[in-house]
């Protein structure tokens, strides 16, 4: 029989810490270890199936699948170029992004991130690049690196917000930084692949505007005085 030194309540023999204040139980007089006694509650968690959610997701999948198979077969029978690839890839991307999440019991953000990245990369490849000779260069030198960079940015944002809740100003700063970097990278990539020299300059303009905005937001975040002044001037 142990008592919590902090709350003064008697605790169950199986308790390793107090259920009310999480103070660890240390009682040298008790011979049996907490693991040897049966806890007052079962440790088995039962997660009921989300039948409704899955069922709807299943129905939507079927609705998407039917016209796709029809297009694919029509295309295969009546030859005339691979036009059905456009329908199929678009439908597949829509399915991966919007329907698939409902099949998992719990939302799995990292799985979704991985699938969405692969889905988008594959979609761009099949939809834009596969039929053109020059398309492949364009895809591997420009589109794929850009998709990967944006995807990494999203991953960083997810990891950064997962650990603890961030202030909305900081989140805005990070998103703005991402936009600035993405535009710069995109400008550079486009200049390398095509002869469009002005692309990098446009990227630079966006980068500089974002940088100014970021500086202002960071200042707002760090200065309490500034925030107070703003709320005084712009109250509604």
């Amino acid at each position: 029989m142990s008592y919590c030194v902090n709350c003064g309540v008697e605790l169950d023999d199986s308790a390793k810490k107090c259920a009310l204040c999480a103070t660890p139980v240390i009682n040298p007089n008790i011979q049996t270890k907490p693991e040897e006694t049966q806890p007052p509650f079962s440790s088995q968690e039962h997660i009921p199936q989300g039948i409704k959610k899955r069922f709807i997701a299943y129905i939507v999948s079927v609705i998407i699948f039917i016209p796709n198979i029809v297009c694919f077969l029509t295309n295969a029978i009546f030859k005339g170029g691979f036009w059905s690839v456009y329908v199929n890839t678009t439908s597949f991307l829509i399915w991966v992004i919007f329907v698939f999440p409902f099949f998992t019991k719990k939302l799995k953000p990292f799985l979704m991130w991985a699938l969405d990245t692969v889905g988008v990369a594959a979609y761009v490849y099949f939809f834009f690049a596969i039929h053109h000779e020059s398309g492949k260069d364009w895809y591997f030198l420009c589109a794929l690196p850009f998709i990967c960079i944006v995807s990494l940015m999203v991953l960083f944002y997810m990891l950064w917000t997962k650990r603890k809740k961030r202030h909305w100003l900081l989140r805005t700063v990070l998103i703005t930084v991402d936009i600035a970097l993405a535009s710069l990278v995109l400008g550079a990539l486009i200049r390398n692949v095509t002869s469009l020299k002005s692309a990098f300059d446009i990227g630079m303009i966006i980068f500089v505007s974002c940088a100014v905005l970021v500086a202002f937001l960071v200042y707002c975040y760090s200065s309490k005085h500034m925030r107070r002044w703003l709320s005084k001037r712009f109250f509604v």
């Binding site: 309540v9 008697e10 259920a19 007052p40 079962s42 088995q44 039962h46």
Partner: protein, 424 residues
């Protein structure tokens, strides 16, 4: 098949609201647990359960959709028992569990039933569980007579056990006026989907009773006042600009006012509240406030007008002839707007369970868990057996400060409290 008059039932007046707002976070499932002095044998328990179900047709049902209302239909399946789980009182799915609206579990020495509120209330479930346990003990070779809350399995089920008692007794001519404002809620970090934290405090009834006697209040009034005070102090510490009212919901068993044998719902929820804008309150003042309000509201005439008002909504032709799907939508929206918005905490006291002497020696304690709430961190159940008063907190948040404050206050007042919890 020959009909015995229990093939189907209409839902009672209180039950009608539950299927429409059945959701993951608001399950309307509560649990009665009985702890025996020896390990439970699941096979014998299953046998005892199925024998009891024949005697209690209002529990042996599945829910079906009619055009205008849901209805209960006799369940042709055999009920089964399963090992206990950590996240008790999770939502009922009408198609799972062979359609049964209760789930019976065993864990070590404990037998528990998670029951959907649409089929019965706290008292009805105590009768059901106790009758199953009595039959279980009989099958184990003990001689248990049918008295107290135990039903005789040799008797035939009666119509009065399955009646909608609201319908029979609601007769008030006074319009009951419901005026409720959104009240204070002690919110925190959610414990996760399908998960709820349960903290059980086991105390001596004699000690608690002596304490309440000192303050000249009942046990329910005392606990309700404590919950109200804790919420009041918590809101005060948060230093909000305009404090909201604090209210505690207290379901009352109407069987004490009206002579009925019904095992279905026959409760009404009373509400006691305080307004912190009136000024500072001490615990003694809150206790007096709660006690006076509750004694005024807990009156046959008062509850009858409330009951009649509830019944009026059901009988209204506009609500009556709306198809079920639209009705459900209406219930869900109404519940979202009112529901738990108007209560800060809930305390449901089943009171002492009376069992025959021969059975008492096999029972260690009774437990009563109210289901998880959507907003409320303190939904409490109280049940007493012999000298053991078991107080249970159902908390949908991770924080345990309300429970801690509650039990440590009792310890300071000289009550011995033993804590059990499903928290890790």
């Amino acid at each position: 098949m020959k009909s015995n008059g229990f093939d189907w039932f209409k839902l009672d007046n209180a039950a009608k609201i539950f299927p429409g707002q059945n959701s993951n976070s608001w399950s309307n499932v509560f649990r009665i647990g009985v702890e025996l002095k020896e390990e439970v044998d699941p096979e014998i328990l299953e046998k005892a359960l199925n024998r009891t179900l024949e005697r209690m047709p209002s529990f042996n049902v599945r829910i079906r959709k009619g055009f205008f209302w849901y209805f209960f239909e006799k369940n042709p399946n055999q009920a089964a028992v399963s090992p206990d789980i950590k996240n008790l009182c999770y939502r009922v799915n009408f198609k799972e569990n062979k359609g049964f609206l209760f789930r019976m579990y065993y864990y070590g020495k404990r037998i528990s039933v998670d029951i959907y509120h649409a089929i019965s209330d706290g008292y009805g479930n105590v009768v059901f569980v106790s009758t199953v346990v009595a039959e279980y003990l009989r099958l184990k070779g003990h001689n248990i007579p049918a008295s107290g809350v135990i039903l005789d399995l040799n008797d035939k089920p009666t119509k009065s056990e399955t009646e909608d008692a609201y319908n029979r007794f609601a007769s008030s001519k006074v319009k009951y006026n419901r005026r409720d404002k959104p009240v204070y809620h002690a919110v925190g970090t959610k414990a996760g989907e399908h998960m709820c934290n349960y903290t059980v405090g086991i105390m001596s009834f004699q000690q608690v009773h002596a304490l309440c006697k000192r303050y000249q209040v009942t046990v329910t009034e005392f606990f309700a006042a404590m919950l109200m005070d804790i919420h009041y102090q918590k809101q005060k510490a948060e230093q909000v600009k305009k404090p909201r009212e604090v209210s505690v919901q207290i379901p009352v068993n109407l069987r004490k006012f009206y002579p009925t044998d019904t095992l279905r719902n026959f409760v009404l929820c009373l509400r006691v509240k305080m307004n912190p804008n009136m000024g500072d309150y001490t615990f003694e003042q809150i206790l007096k406030l709660v006690s006076l309000q509750l004694r005024l509201a807990n009156d046959e005439k008062e509850v009858n007008s409330m009951m009649t008002q509830n019944l009026k909504i059901e009988k209204n032709p506009f609500t009556k002839y709306i198809p079920l799907g639209i009705k459900n939508l209406g219930v869900a929206i109404t519940f979202l707007l009112t529901g738990e918005q108007t209560t800060s905490a809930l305390i449901s006291n089943i009171g002492p369970v009376s069992l025959p002497g021969e059975m008492k020696e096999h029972i260690e304690k009774y437990m009563f868990f109210t289901g998880p709430g959507k907003l409320n961190g303190a939904r409490c159940g109280v049940i007493t057996f012999d000298d053991k008063l078991v107080f249970t907190f159902s908390n949908c948040y991770q924080e345990s400060d309300i429970e801690r404050e509650f039990f440590t206050r009792l310890v300071k007042m000289g009550i011995h409290v033993k804590i059990e919890s499903n928290r890790e």
